[in-house]
Amino acid sequence: MKHKLLPLSETMHYILLALREPLHGYAVMQEIEEMSNGSVILAAGTLYGAIENLNKHGWIEVVGNSGRRKVYKITAEGSTVLKLEQQRLLHILSLYEGSE
């Protein structure tokens, strides 16, 4: 059976993409706002829960501290997940192109 976080939700997907660079929680939200051209603005509880969840599954990890804030980064396992999601989405996109 598929992993329970797959296929990735929009929130999880954006967080994993943002954490290819090490960032603390609030910076993740800011980065995602920019990456999504302002269409995805995460709220505090959603971000906290998602970070907890991704951390629990070992897809992101704490790599340091910035003041009192924890800094997170994607793990090798998390990168593999992104790779698989990319292939899945590329395939779906190819189906769009075929129908034109």
């Binding site: 929130t11 609030y26 995460l42 509880g45 971000l47 906290y48 009192r68 804030r69």
Partner: protein
């Protein structure tokens, strides 16, 4: 200003708190006995209630840290309850959940809490009522006149105490059901 009000439903509590804030107040404290403290303010505040029980110290710090970065202020609640009170000045982002997934998980946490508290009350009721003879107060019904009424008054609080686990179990069950309804409505949308 202090206001006393008891809630058994977190959504109704949140709604009531925001009604008070609409009247130009800011909440400064919540105590376990339903005492809410407010300050008069010129600014417009919003409150959102989250449910998170038993966060270990480092997780609680991380949890609070992220909310505070987003401009939310932690209003200290009762240590016994897992309800987390968050308040901020009204702005662009007044919600604590921005997707269906996380809002659904919040309802699931509430359901889990109601379920276990309900089971606990249910188990307590069973322990009290399995010996039914103690419940009927046989002696009482044989009394007459004024003595009966005095005895009835005397016994009533004991009966209420004995009944309270059942009443609580019913309240928790109704909370569980309302959490479930909110959750399933969210899943259908």
């Amino acid at each position: 200003m202090k206001k006393v009000k008891w809630f058994f439903n977190i959504e109704k509590e949140e709604q009531w708190l925001n009604e008070q804030l609409q009247k130009g107040f800011r909440c400064t404290g919540v105590s376990g006995f339903g005492i809410y403290t407010f300050d008069k303010t010129e600014k417009q505040y919003v409150m959102r209630l989250d449910y998170q029980d038993n966060l270990p110290k480092d997780k609680l710090q991380e949890y609070k840290g992220i909310y505070e970065d987003f401009g939310w202020n932690y209003v200290k609640g009762s240590w016994l309850s897992g309800i987390r009170y968050w308040q901020k000045e009204e702005g662009n982002q007044n919600e604590i959940f921005s997707d269906r997934e996380s809002k659904g998980k919040y309802y699931k946490r509430l359901m889990g809490y109601s379920f276990w508290m309900g089971m606990l009350c249910f188990a307590l009721s069973y322990m009290i009522y399995k010996d039914l003879s103690g419940f009927y107060h046989d002696g009482l019904w044989n009394m007459e006149g004024a003595l009966f009424w005095y005895a009835l008054l005397f016994e009533t609080p004991f009966v209420l105490v004995k009944l309270s686990p059942v009443m609580l179990a019913i309240l928790f069950a109704s909370n569980f059901y309302s959490g479930y309804r909110n959750y399933s409505v969210l899943a259908e949308k």
